[in-house]
């Protein structure tokens, strides 16, 4: 699904190398998790993959289903099946949540040469998916993320994911700012989307989220590199002992 080879990235504005040779191979239908201390480059990886400005790729390649991603605009990556659930979803006053969702869905369909969804069809689908995430009609009508609580914002991210049906989903610290109930709801939303043709990359600080979204593979990232990979037990090890042991082990 997603192949990352020797990815080196520096900040555009200053001479600071953030990613120093990331290698990851994410197969279809799997859930991979990335854990790591603050400043290890986890969020940078998610931004570079989705095409945010301000980063310069100095070396390496990224392919999504065989296509070179790094040459694409963010909207092209989205249409190709990439989705990033933001750590801090952005508020957009004056643009209704529903309008935003429909614009996004139809923009992707158009880029893929598919027919746009009619207002009626769209409404039917969105209502059904919103219901399972406990997003009410009022939240759909309100401006995008404006006045939403932390939990509502994250649920709204998952609703977008459910509507856009991406192939490669990146979740950037989706658990941050969530209480136990909200985490459960969000996780259920993610689990409902697990599918043989869909891959997840879950970035998190805590093992807690991985109790709900069970990963197939866990990677530890430190100082811009993946330093260790393993099964779900690796997340438990981090939870119990912190990163110090692992860092010492590879040093």
């Amino acid at each position: 699904m997603l192949e990352i080879k020797n990815l080196h990235v520096k900040l555009e504005e200053e001479d600071k190398q953030i990613l120093k040779g990331v290698n990851l191979s994410l197969e279809a239908g799997k859930v991979h998790a990335i854990m790591g201390p603050n400043g290890s480059g986890k969020s940078t990886l998610s931004y570079v993959l989705s095409g945010k400005d301000g980063y310069e790729v100095t070396d390496g390649e990224v392919h999504l289903l065989g296509e070179d991603v790094l040459d694409m605009e963010p909207e092209e990556r989205a249409a190709a099946g990439l989705f990033l659930a933001f750590q801090y979803p952005v508020e957009i006053p004056g643009v209704g949540n529903m309008t935003f969702l429909r614009t996004a869905v139809n923009a992707q369909r158009k880029q893929r040469g598919e027919e746009e969804l009619s207002a009626g069809d769209f409404l039917k689908v969105v209502r059904e998916k919103a219901k399972t995430l406990k997003i009410d009609a009022d939240m759909l009508k309100r401006p995008v993320n404006v006045g939403f609580s932390g939990g509502e914002k994250k649920r709204n991210e998952i609703l977008q994911m459910a509507m856009l049906e991406p192939k490669m989903c990146i979740l950037d610290e989706t658990d941050s700012g969530l209480d136990v109930d909200a985490m459960k709801l969000v996780s259920e939303g993610v689990n409902a989307l697990r599918d043989a043709g869909r891959t997840f990359l879950v970035i998190t600080h805590y093992q807690r989220l991985l109790d709900h979204i069970k990963p197939d593979v866990v990677h530890i990232m430190a100082d811009g590199k993946i330093i260790k990979s393993g099964g779900p037990e690796l997340a438990l090890e981090v939870e119990n002992n912190g990163y110090a042991d692992i860092l010492a082990e590879v040093a």
Binding site: V90, Q108, P143
Partner: protein, 429 residues
């Protein structure tokens, strides 16, 4: 104090260029007064403080600069789906054939050119009267010039609540037309009216509207200024608000090489409410000036000024807004915001927000900002698959939303929004 020679010459030349129209006694007297006011004030030049950010030269010249007529597109006219009473002016000349019959329950509508022939008329107490009051403390000579020279306009006496809005449509067909129209709206106690205006009107348009809203009366106004790129307009609204009355005005401006919209309101009765809002879109040769002066002269009144401008390719936006709170106007709630979205480094926004408060128990706030498109929001939209151009448009609409929200009627707001979206889409090509 004698006027400087330059001003005297300028003023004399402008007054000579148009004859003061023949009128009956009441209007002839008002016009003669206005001519005297123009002569004593002199027309503005760019050296006047009040015209520091907007050069009035082409608004005061004897001849109107030419303005090409904008090619009509195939999109539906504005307000097309709104049931309304249409009154059409072509280059400032009333078009009876294109207009509806001027009868509507709850209101009497007369043309200035007819009613002005009478010797006496109710409009005598308002025509040029509110304008004259509005000359203090800041002079507005182009409004006095309008009172002197207006060839036509509507005198609207609202006694009830008409079932539909009165829609003034200003068409522009002659590339060198110079139109001067003056409307008077008198809203009686408990009555309510909605006035719509749209169209470029003329190569150069000087329009004045005087509005008297009696106690508990309501005046709603939604205007869309025409899209002709080369047209010039100077407009004035002078409003006087009685107890518990409502005044709400919204203006959309897209294109136009020069626009100066002045709104001068006086809240004279307790618990009155005045909202003035504007959304302007400028691309290239576009200079747009909102100049607003709201005087609170009664207790517990609320006023709001919400002005948003989107500027690119060297477009210029100006805002001069003032809230004046008189010593007795306790419990005043005044709000003023002026913001620009600058889409490139060439465009500019010049703002002069002012508060002058003499009462001690008031809540007044004001703010003014200039900024670029929010890059984080842009990336967020693009990461969802929305192409860059469309994402920028959505953020422009997001920026303008607070001003558009001031339109109370949902159908009219939808129509205005549609016009905005079409403008953005055309720009995107």
């Amino acid at each position: 104090m004698a006027l400087p020679d330059v001003k005297q010459e300028l003023t004399a030349a402008r007054l000579d260029a148009n004859a003061v129209p023949e009128s009956g006694a009441w209007l002839a007297a008002a016009r003669a007064d206005a001519v005297a006011r123009v002569q004593s004030m002199g027309l503005p030049t760019k050296r006047d403080e009040y015209w520091k950010y907007t050069d009035p030269t082409t608004l005061t010249s004897a001849q109107a600069p030419e303005a090409a007529v904008f090619e009509a597109s195939d999109e539906a006219p504005l307000y097309d789906t709104i049931d309304r009473l249409r009154v059409v002016f072509v280059d400032g000349v009333f078009d009876a054939e294109a207009s509806d019959d001027l009868t509507l329950e709850g209101v009497t509508i007369e043309r200035l050119s007819d009613a002005g022939r009478a010797d006496i008329h109710w409009a005598k107490d308002l025509y040029g009267v509110l304008e004259t009051k509005g000359q203090i403390p800041v002079e507005r000579p182009l409004a006095a010039l309008n009172t002197a020279l207006a060839t036509d306009g509507l005198l609207i006496h609202v006694t009830g609540t008409p079932t539909k809005p009165i829609s003034m449509i200003y068409r522009h067909k002659d590339a060198s037309s110079d139109a001067v129209l003056h409307h008077v709206v008198k809203v009686e106690a408990g009555a309510s009216v909605t006035i719509l205006e749209n169209g470029p009107a003329a190569a150069r348009f000087n329009k004045c509207m005087e509005i008297d809203v009696a106690d508990t009366g309501a005046f709603h106004h939604i205007r869309a200024q025409g899209r002709d790129h080369e047209r010039r307009a100077v407009t004035h609204m002078f409003g006087r608000l009685g107890t518990e009355s409502v005044f709400k005005s919204f203006t959309l401006t897209a294109n136009g090489v020069l626009t100066r919209n002045e709104v001068v309101l006086e809240l004279t009765g307790d618990d009155a409410q005045a909202h003035v809002a504007g959304a302007a879109l400028g691309d290239g040769a576009f200079h747009h000036d909102d100049t607003v002066f709201i005087t609170h002269d009664a207790v517990n009144c609320e006023s709001r000024q919400v002005f948003k401008k989107v500027l690119r390719n060297g477009a210029v936006g100006v805002f001069q807004g003032k809230i004046l709170v008189q010593p007795d106007a306790q419990k005043t709630d005044g709000y003023q915001i002026s913001q620009s979205l600058l889409l490139d480094d060439d465009s500019q926004f010049l703002a002069k927000p002012e508060l002058e408060i003499y009462a001690d128990d008031v809540a007044c706030s004001h703010g003014s900002t200039s900024g670029a498109i929010d890059e984080d929001a842009l990336f967020y939209l693009r990461s969802r698959g929305v192409p860059k151009g469309r994402a920028e448009d959505l953020l422009v609409l997001s920026f303008l939303a607070e001003a558009i929200d001031e339109i109370e009627d949902a159908d009219i707001a939808a129509d205005i929004l549609g016009r905005l979206e079409a403008w953005l889409e055309r720009r995107r090509g």
